[in-house]
């Protein structure tokens, strides 16, 4: 509402595609850095020319993959989130600019170290070369450690909601389990990448050596640690108020309960996309482990790029599913407890740090303000008839048409961050055959504020939880009553009810606070 909307269908998919590509490569970049330097050390200690030549070849591929694809897709995420979620990106930048700046110092060092490492193979003494390799790994992992803090803050912002301090947001409840999990994912992916690189070699001795070393020493540790850290992560998320079990359709956050739910869920409760993503991750990760074991046990000297290519693809799918699930656990927020996916903010919790008394800070995009004034009163880029005015039109045809147009605009403002009309998370099948009044009821129950015990509370409760309709993790409808009606008319028409909007409806909301009456702003 504050910013114009980039009107592409399912804009979240743009972020998802760029992010998954980047996350995959960037985890490679961290783990691969450790793999290169440890393998080089091992080769030098054992005077193993074959292994040393292999690491050297690997480093060029590594340079081309991580420096170009990894670095550019990293910038790409930034471009994508700025286009899709400018409101959230702006808040993140204002809160964590120094986190990103610190990460930037590591990024520079990392990039230079990667280049010096590659160009230094024949030029630097072995000891210096290894030192450069370690510098690469440490700074790459440092980047990961910083970005993980910001990523986990987006789901579990910790004490930041009341304290508004960088470190209380950064060192949040899910930070440590997430960092441990990501570190071991890096290690595992490095092993996958080493197997892929070795598969191109025609030398069975090298293949066998790498299969044992990378398969047993790198991929399998991931297989052990990641599920354990995932349990830790989900428990930490649940402790921070994320209803992970509910989203995944399970009756607990333990791994057995989640596995059982994922393999038996029918999608009627929780978040079906998150459930499918989690299931995909589990199946693909199991595939990675089984293929690695098979390779080590039976095909050690004779595996080719097709086999390892499939292994890498499965690792990508597992990683992508995991990231997708993480993003869905965060829903309906884009920044937990602070901002919903549609850019609407919650009112600050009671006791939150506020601006000094001499500085006036208003938030016209807070839920309570929008519900009072109506969304369209603060929609900077919308030019449609206010809902109350549309509903008050005498002539039924004109009224229905005006309500439809206003409802369509409200849908764009409140819903299109996640829903399309007919494509990804298409709304039409979801509203097919529903009446305006039925849809109004659903819109009114999308999300309610409850406390830890599940009792009704205010939106500014510091211990806020969300009770969502069928656990679908949707944000509450952020407009006034008249707008809720207009949106219901639009959705009902979309669902096939051509008479929607023709009924005579009492326009809700007081005229004084209705849309169109509050379109002034106090900076």
């Amino acid at each position: 509402m504050n910013y114009p909307i980039w009107q592409v269908p399912a804009p979240g998919l743009v972020i998802a595609l760029v992010s998954i590509a980047h996350v995959f490569i960037s985890h490679f970049a961290v783990g691969g850095g450790l793999f290169l330097v440890l393998t080089e050390r091992r080769a030098r200690q054992r005077n193993d020319a074959l292994l040393l030549a292999y690491v050297r070849r690997l480093s060029r591929f590594f340079l081309l993959l991580t420096l170009v694809f990894g670095a550019v897709t990293g910038v790409g995420i930034w471009f994508a989130i700025g286009l899709v979620h400018p409101q959230a990106t702006s808040s993140l930048i204002n809160t964590f600019v120094w986190g990103w700046a610190i990460e930037w110092t590591m990024f520079i060092t990392e990039i230079v170290a990667a280049m010096v490492y590659y160009y230094g193979w024949d030029r630097l003494p072995a000891r210096t070369h290894l030192t450069v390799g370690w510098i690469y790994f440490i700074t790459a992992w440092g980047s990961l450690a910083v970005i993980t803090g910001i990523l986990t803050y987006m789901m579990t912002p910790g004490g930041w909601l009341t304290e508004r301090s960088f470190w209380s947001g950064f060192l949040n409840e899910t930070y440590l389990p997430s960092l441990v999990m990501r570190t071991f994912v890096c290690v595992g992916l490095a092993g996958v990448y080493a197997l892929l690189a070795a598969s191109w070699s025609g030398d069975p001795r090298l293949k066998s050596k790498v299969a044992r070393y990378a398969g047993l020493g790198w991929v399998l540790p991931m297989a052990v640690v990641v599920p354990l850290s995932l349990i830790w992560y989900l428990a930490a998320a649940a402790g921070a108020g994320i209803p992970a079990a509910e989203i995944l359709g399970a009756d607990g956050t333990g791994l057995p309960a989640i596995l059982k739910a994922l393999f038996t869920a029918d999608g009627t409760t929780g978040h079906p996309v998150a459930q499918r993503a989690a299931l995909t991750t589990i199946v693909a990760a199991t595939g990675v482990i089984l293929m690695t074991l098979f390779l080590v046990a039976r095909r050690r000297r004779n595996y080719g790029p097709i086999f390892t290519g499939l292994l890498t693809f499965l690792a990508l799918v597992a990683m992508g599913g995991g990231e997708w699930m993480r993003a869905d656990l965060r829903k309906p927020y884009v920044i937990g407890g602070f901002m919903f996916v549609n850019g609407v903010r919650l009112p600050p919790p009671a006791g939150a740090i506020r601006a000094p008394a001499d500085i006036q800070v208003n938030d016209p995009y807070a839920l309570d303000v929008l519900r009072r004034d109506g969304m369209l009163a603060h929609a900077r880029w919308s030019q449609v008839q206010p809902a109350a005015e549309a509903a008050a039109l005498e002539e039924p045809e004109a009224r229905a048409e005006a309500l439809f147009r206003t409802g369509r605009e409200l849908f764009k403002l409140a819903c299109t961050k996640c829903h399309t009309t007919d494509g990804y998370q298409g709304i039409r099948p979801l509203v097919a055959g529903r009446s305006t009044s039925g849809l109004q009821t659903i819109l009114g129950h999308l999300a309610r504020p409850v406390n830890r015990e599940g009792r009704e509370t205010g939106w500014d409760d510091p211990d806020l939880r969300l009770a969502t309709w069928r656990g679908r993790r949707m944000p509450p409808f952020p407009g006034n009553q008249a707008e809720q009606y207009a949106l219901a008319v639009y959705l009902s028409r979309l669902g096939g009810d051509d008479r929607a909007g023709f009924e005579r409806q009492q326009a809700h909301g007081s005229p004084a606070a209705g849309p169109g009456s509050g379109r002034e702003e106090t900076p």
Binding site: V14, V68, R164
Partner: protein, 378 residues
Amino acid sequence: MNGFPLSPVPFPDPVPQPAPAWILWGLLVFTFMLHLLAMNFVVGGSVIGAVTARLGRRAGRPHHMALVRWLTDAMPIALAATITFGVAPLLFLQVLYGRLFFTSSVLMGWFWFAVVPLVMVAYYGTYLLAFKSASLGHWGSWIRWLTIFIFLVIGFIFANNMSLMLRPDLFRAIYADGGTAHGNFGDPTLWPRYLHLMLAAVAIGGMWVSGYGLICRPRRPEFGEWAMRYGARWFSGVTAVNLFMGFWFLFSLPGETMARFMGPVPVATFVLGLGIFAGMTTMTLMFLAANAPRPSPLVGCGIGGLLVTVVCMVLVRDQVRRGALATMNFEPVQWVEPQWFNIILFLVLLVAGTLTVVWMVRALVLAGRPGTEDGPVP
């Protein structure tokens, strides 16, 4: 229907700005200068490399091909530096002017997002040329020109966004137009701004060549002196044209913004005046260097003059932005809560990172190239 009673400039976030504006501004200007110097190597060096490769095809021009080799080998590194140094100013810009920048970016949509795949394709192009140029045959020339074309398009996209963010008066009309990709093509400052910047990039690319010649001269005097003169010709020739482009840009600015440079705002007038003076002096020095029997001292002074010019022109650019912001009554954020610990941590890590980078690069340079006994190689 409601009209548009709300301002097209979005409302500030209800979170505090994490540093005083002067720190963010200082870092924005400083890191942008670094980005500019690296970007000029990429754009200017690519153009000079392509033209020089063409000229070097004639027999008896080994220096041309040696220069092309160096430019080609250095290009991936320079592009990495351009991207890395570009991240920081974009970050600080978003804190200070995010409300304008995010809006213009969203309006540009796919056009803005296209920067990402374009950079990637061009990046792989530079690596292909650096690693495989011998086996590429005539494809090498095509790839070289393709990467140049992509660099020029990326520059054009940035010029669009940086100029559009200063035109909130155009925001609504562009948004009302619908669609998912727009430019700022109707803005009279767009083309002179873009051409001025790109020509400056080619000129400074020439200065990079002269600088390389200066470094090479002690070891390879003949090539070094040739490169100094050759780069000086590029610099002085292109700058002579670019002076006119600069005046076109100045006179294309809205009246109130242009007026800042004519006296009412002494800082603006001073930096523009000094920038033009330094630029013309540098152009003269390089013109003389292009024809001098011993160009080294002139090139050395020219590099100094260029640095002064770049500093001034970056500040002029900032004054253009300030002028535009003043005309639209852009209010800076009032709520400032500096994160001093993080600011200091950043500065400490910046120093530590810089020292580490210097140590690594020094170790590589001092080690010399493999298979040679000549030790350090520039």
